[in-house]
């Protein structure tokens, strides 16, 4: 794993990628720092961390687009897949390389609150908590980028799709108040989800009987819930998206709360996408 990590880090800092990521990140965060802390003389640095999350939209695709798609393009993935390294090690190494660049960058931004502390008291615990959230949010986005990079052999496509996927996380949050909240809409939404899961099952195994029976069992269970406990479907769509939303959980950190369930969610989110990436590579071995 460390071999992959070292190789990837070397690539980041011998090509413009790492510098573009760091430079752009620090430019924007520095700007927000100056505008919300330095000029108004405010010690509240958590505001900056709360406001600059949109940078991820632009910089995460830059950071992750190359990770696996480049290997596929240059056919070096065949070498990797047949190497004695385990798939988990390869994927983790690549993921940790991107995370390392991210950590180096936010380590530079620690300079900002340090500057503020020269001129007065700053809320240390709140700032620390906001950093933990910021780090976890960034790592989650990077895991999405890694996964998307494994799906294509074109860097550019990987970047665009990653950008769109991240944008979707924002858009869903914005649209929450416009989503339908009544029971029937919630019920239909759940049925659509069941349908999607079954479609995915069919596409992977091409077996109609299992797919249809899964659909029947799923739909049956949710119909039963609808009859026994219809209030389950009130606000179901909004609750679903809110629960899965990376950004609404991040808000807790910037509000000064260290929330165990949010930390657990981010870690599982990262785990799932690394796992999915491994599955995608695994699939190349047998299909």
């Amino acid at each position: 794993m460390s071999a992959v990590l070292k190789k990837e880090l070397k690539i980041y800092f011998s090509t413009p990628t790492g510098y573009i990521f760091m430079g752009f990140f620090l430019l924007i965060s520095g700007f927000f720092f100056a505008v919300s802390n330095l000029f108004p003389a405010s010690p509240n640095y958590t505001l900056v961390l709360g406001n600059i999350t949109f940078i991820f939209l632009v910089v995460v695709p830059v950071l992750t687009m190359r990770l696996l798609s480049e290997e596929a393009r240059t056919k070096t993935d065949q070498l990797l897949l047949t190497s004695p390294l385990k798939l988990t090690e390869i994927v983790l190494g690549k993921y940790l390389a991107a995370v390392t660049v991210f950590v180096i960058t936010i380590a530079v931004t620690v300079l900002y609150p340090t500057i503020l502390s020269f001129y007065g008291d700053i809320p240390v615990a709140e700032t620390l908590g906001a950093y933990i959230g910021f780090f976890l949010l960034g790592c989650s986005f990077i895991s999405i980028g890694l996964f998307i990079s494994s799906l294509t052999d074109n860097q550019f496509i990987a970047a665009v799709v990653t950008f769109s996927a991240l944008l979707l996380t924002w858009v869903i949050d914005w649209l929450e108040s416009a989503l339908p909240t009544d029971r029937v809409a919630g019920f239909i939404f759940v049925l659509i989800l069941v349908g999607l899961v079954c479609a995915w099952i069919y596409l992977t195994i091409r077996n109609i009987i299992i797919s249809v029976s899964a659909a029947a069992i799923g739909a049956g269970a949710f119909v039963a819930v609808y009859i026994l406990k219809p209030e389950f479907y009130d606000n179901a769509i909004v609750r679903f998206f809110k629960w899965f939303s990376l950004l609404s959980r991040y808000q807790k950190f910037t509000n000064g709360l260290l929330d165990l369930s949010s930390i657990a969610y981010y870690l599982s989110f990262i785990f799932v996408f690394i796992f999915l990436t491994i599955r995608v590579l695994e699939k190349r071995r047998w299909s």
Binding site: G23, L38, E176, R206
Partner: protein, 485 residues
Amino acid sequence: MVKLDLKSIKSSFKTRKFKYGGYAAMLTASVIAILIVLNLLVGQIPAKLDLTHNRLYSLSKPTIDLLKNLKKDVTIYALFPTGNENPVISEFIQKYAEKSSHVKIKYIDPYKNPGFVKKYQTSETQIDEGSLIVESGNKFRVINRYDMVDYSYNEQTGESNVTGLTIEQKLTPAILYVTSDKSPVLYELKGHGEDTLVRLGISSEIEAANYEIRDLNLLTEKSVPQDATAVIVISPKTDISDIELKKLKDYINSGGRVMFLMDILKDELKNFNSLFESLGVRLEHGIVMEGDNNYNAGNPVWILPKLESHDIVNPIDLNNMYMLIPNAQPIVETKFKKRTITVEKLLTTTSNSWLRKDLTSTSLSKEKGDKSGPFTLAVAITDKADAFNTKLRPRDAKVVIVGNATFLNSQFSKSVPGNLNFVINALNWLQDKKDTLQIQPKDLTTFRLNISTTQAMVWAAITVVGIPIVILVLGLTVWLRRRHL
């Protein structure tokens, strides 16, 4: 193409895709399912660490005690459009539900359920989006969104800033109110151009101190109602009639409790003054002006009164609060008064103050004909219970008189916390209440950094321009060097 004949279905169980894909799909699905269940379980643990320096999300001891002893079910309705909840308020009310299984929280979208809000609306109150409704049984209380934060008003810039979070001070008494069987009733005298607590914008604060506010019209009522805990008279513009005077006197004589807030008028209110004189005091006509700059707010008519030693004003002093009273008239003790009466001073001015008799004069300094201070601006009067005739006066009568009502205008009461505190303390004193639910507001003021504009400019230049340029130059050199290899 999907073929649905038996043979192809049978064979579909034997393909490579089924074998590997089925295994892969099962694995993926079970990993995701396990993680979701795990997260749902973790979500049940209310482990949240409050990192804020002012313990923003932590409940104070009186609230925790109340919640522990809660016996009745309480529902808190939070009126937010779905998906647009205020995270700070949501976190905060969540704490209440975590501490007591009797507290339920329901989010109601006020735009999708307009009928729901209507149920709680009265002609005088407006329920905005973002408000809370606390309900238990058939009692409820509305907490307006604007009452959950404290604002400070900057006179120079005209800006108001959020300075504190007061959700807890409103929510905890509201729960106490809806779960208690009886709550003290405060009657507001009406019919003489009085101001009202609603119009002054402080009704929610009085309700938060758990008073039920009702109107009192002494012309139609036979007497002050039996259930009255106290009567409040706010800035009457015309005098009371003789009948009303008698009813008020009877009430006081039978151990009643009244608070008078009297603004300066052009003419004297004879019946009011005769009532006051029976209590051993009298209002003196004129405006008190304070010459000592430590005791005025930049203008001699804006008095920062001296707080004397009394249960009503001591808490204000203890909490380092002050009061601001504009355009006050003085209260003088009469030479002769009943032996059962004691008059205690609450708010006074310095000897550097004077009384402006001529209300048309615009001069802000002492003139000839102005009477010299010190003056008393507020008094607390106790008329001892009659030990021999308990029928006439079964308990002490208590009266608070303030030579001003303007200090309760939202302009003053919202920015000077001592003003409101005074009224609530006075009401508590009137109903002999000692153990008040005192929850301090959460301080939200962030202190400014002691950084000069030049220093800020330098740091801004370093962080916005310096650091990114260094990195870009570094990147460029690495890239160029590799290109020319």
